[in-house]
């Protein structure tokens, strides 16, 4: 699992590639935590999951933890480009009730504005 962090129009965009599972979730949370502390002006985050072909409950837990951190700062976390198998996990766990899920990163960035 690899993650890149950029800022686009004042919105943090986190692009994740590879399976978001228990095996890589700790390092992802650490990377996000470091970046989030440094980017203290950021409020909103878009998670680009177009490269995540699969996530398990640990990955889902990490996303919820991230959402909590973002909302504590008064912002919002949106999910973009959710793939088929990851979407199935979102459906059965009702995670779609917690996250805003959009089709593209541009759409998600715009929604944050």
């Amino acid at each position: 699992m690899e993650a890149t962090f950029v800022i686009d129009k004042g919105v943090g965009v986190v692009t994740v590639t590879g399976p978001l599972t228990a095996a890589g979730v700790d390092s992802f949370r650490e990377q996000f935590g470091g970046w989030w502390q440094n980017a203290s002006e950021l409020r909103n985050v878009v998670m680009d999951l177009g490269g995540v072909e699969f996530l398990d409950s640990a990955g889902l837990g990490a996303l919820i933890a991230l959402l909590k951190r973002v909302t504590e700062r008064g912002g919002d976390l949106k999910i973009a480009r959710l793939q088929k198998k990851a979407r199935m996990v979102f459906e059965i766990t009702r995670a779609y009730e917690v996250f805003d899920i959009l089709d593209s990163v541009e759409e998600a960035v715009k929604a944050c504005g």
Binding site: T21, S57, K84, M88, E91, T93, R94
Partner: protein
């Protein structure tokens, strides 16, 4: 009148259901074969011939001789490269009394209005659908021409006139839709799966539904199910047998197949779940979940037969260990001193899907023909280390020859049941069997397993080993 059902070729969509043969795919908790047998009874069919191919053992284990339907079922095989109709050419005369022929995965869907069966001297009914052909005829001249390849089902009367409309099961979507259509009312046209409450819900035996759970008709629930508190099941849900639905779960427009655990708070809509596998019928996407708290396979408790067999085997193994302990120590020590035998460990597939290493006492090249090894072999002392595994509960006494890992992985995956044991069909001999022979023996035992068969194996091993001492039979030493 006779029926011939060809089940040889497995449609690709059944792979996502774990390789269930299409004749056994569950529709409203009844295997498809059940519906065909039900129609055969309506038509007055007395004899059914199942022409098998892939997963033949599963079909045979379910249908047996057809007693459950009051029919006589026989089995035949046809090579994959032969068309289904070529089976009829083997003995065309026997079909002249009337034939119902099915060559692919179709469902005999009953129309709302029941109609009388075909007349005795009859018309010919047929249909050609994406899944296969279906033909019903009592016309000897037509049947002769059909078998000879001079006629096809084209131009025959539609089954609709008999109140039946064969529906193709050509995709996972068709399978899902048919299940929901049955649950939403059509199931009442057949022998119903469980107790019908009159509101469109059918519930099987031994189902626990707490007062706080909500079951909304139409719904079909199988036998031995548990539904958790505050769970919501239905409308339009088919729940298989041995299914556990945890608390606060929401299941609508879904099919849960046998032996599935649905975790707490999980929501399933427009999905098929089987074990830890989730299937989207829209595009056939398959997701194998790693999290057992979301979806998991329900492990069935051991059957009475397994428990009885295990206890009897354990006691017998203990007795044999006591009897063999002193001879083993003396003879093995002697053989080792003379270099006639040595002890090796090999990796085998154990029970419960685990791999384990087993100790084998093997003769050396020079020791094979020695009197000491012949006596050691005849007394079954080479099995002593394996008997210890039985006493430790890690092997069965009688069953399958333990399959090697990884050489026999493919065979292991195809076996419907696997009971690695000390005594097997291969034990009277020494040395490894041909892979093809091992495969046939393993499949045969998986199908024939019973106490009598276990005793037969045990007796055959004792007699075979004794004969080897006298120089008779196949001792391969």
């Amino acid at each position: 009148m006779k029926a011939v059902i060809y089940s040889g070729t497995a449609p690709s969509w059944t792979r996502s259901l774990g390789g269930t043969p299409w004749l056994l795919v569950p529709l409203a908790n009844r295997p498809l074969l059940d519906f065909w047998m039900e129609w055969c009874l309506d038509l007055g069919v007395s004899e059914v011939r199942l022409v098998l191919g892939d997963s033949a053992d599963q079909i045979e284990a379910y249908a047996e001789e057809g007693r459950r339907w009051g029919l006589r079922i026989g089995y035949s095989f046809l090579r994959d490269d032969r068309p289904p109709v070529s089976f009829l050419k083997r003995d065309p005369a026997q079909w002249r009394g009337g034939l119902l022929f099915l060559s692919g995965p179709l469902f005999p869907r009953r129309l709302p209005e029941r109609k009388p069966g075909p007349s005795a001297d009859g018309e010919t009914y047929g249909c050609a659908l994406p899944g296969g052909d279906c033909l019903l005829s009592r016309d000897p001249a037509f049947l002769d021409a059909f078998i000879a390849g001079e006629r096809t089902v084209e131009g025959t009367r539609p089954f609709r006139e008999l109140g039946i409309e064969p529906a193709p099961l050509a995709s996972i979507r068709a399978f899902f839709d048919l299940n929901l259509q049955l649950a939403e009312g059509e199931v009442g046209r057949y022998v119903t799966p469980g107790y019908g409450a009159g509101d469109g819900s059918f519930v099987g035996y031994n189902v626990v539904i707490p007062p706080s759970a909500r079951v909304a008709a139409p719904v079909v629930i199988g036998n031995d199910c548990r539904i958790g508190a505050l769970a919501s099941v239905g409308p339009s849900a088919v729940i298989g047998n041995h299914v556990v639905i945890d608390r606060q779960t929401d299941l609508r427009r879904c099919v849960i197949l046998d032996g599935t655990y649905v975790g707490r708070g999980v929501e399933l809509r427009d999905k098929i779940a089987t074990g830890r596998r989730l299937i989207d019928p829209d595009d056939g996407a398959v997701l194998d979940l790693e999290d057992p708290w979301l979806l998991a396979e329900v492990k069935r408790s051991a059957s009475f037969r397994d428990v009885g067999s295990g206890v009897a085997g354990w006691l017998l193994a203990l007795a044999l260990l006591v009897l063999q302990a002193v001879p083993f120590v003396l003879l093995y020590g002697w053989l080792r001193c003379w270099g006639a035998a040595d002890y090796r460990r090999r990796v085998f597939h154990g029970p419960n899907g685990r791999v384990q290493s087993l100790g084998l006492v093997q003769p050396s090249e020079t020791g094979r023909s020695s009197a000491g090894w012949r006596l050691f072999f005849a007394l079954g002392l080479d099995l002593f280390p394996r008997l210890g595994r039985v006493a430790a509960g890690r092997l069965w006494l009688c069953g399958h020859e333990p399959l090697r890992a990884p050489e026999d992985n493919a065979l292991r995956e195809t076996l419907p049941a696997y009971y690695p044991a000390v005594f097997s069909y291969a034990t009277p001999r020494f040395g490894e069997s041909e892979p093809a022979v091992t495969a046939v023996q393993a499949r045969y035992y998986a199908h024939r397993r019973c106490w009598r068969e276990d005793w037969r194996i045990f007796g055959a091993v004792l007699v075979g080993r004794a004969k080897s001492l006298l120089g008779e039979g196949d001792r391969d030493a």
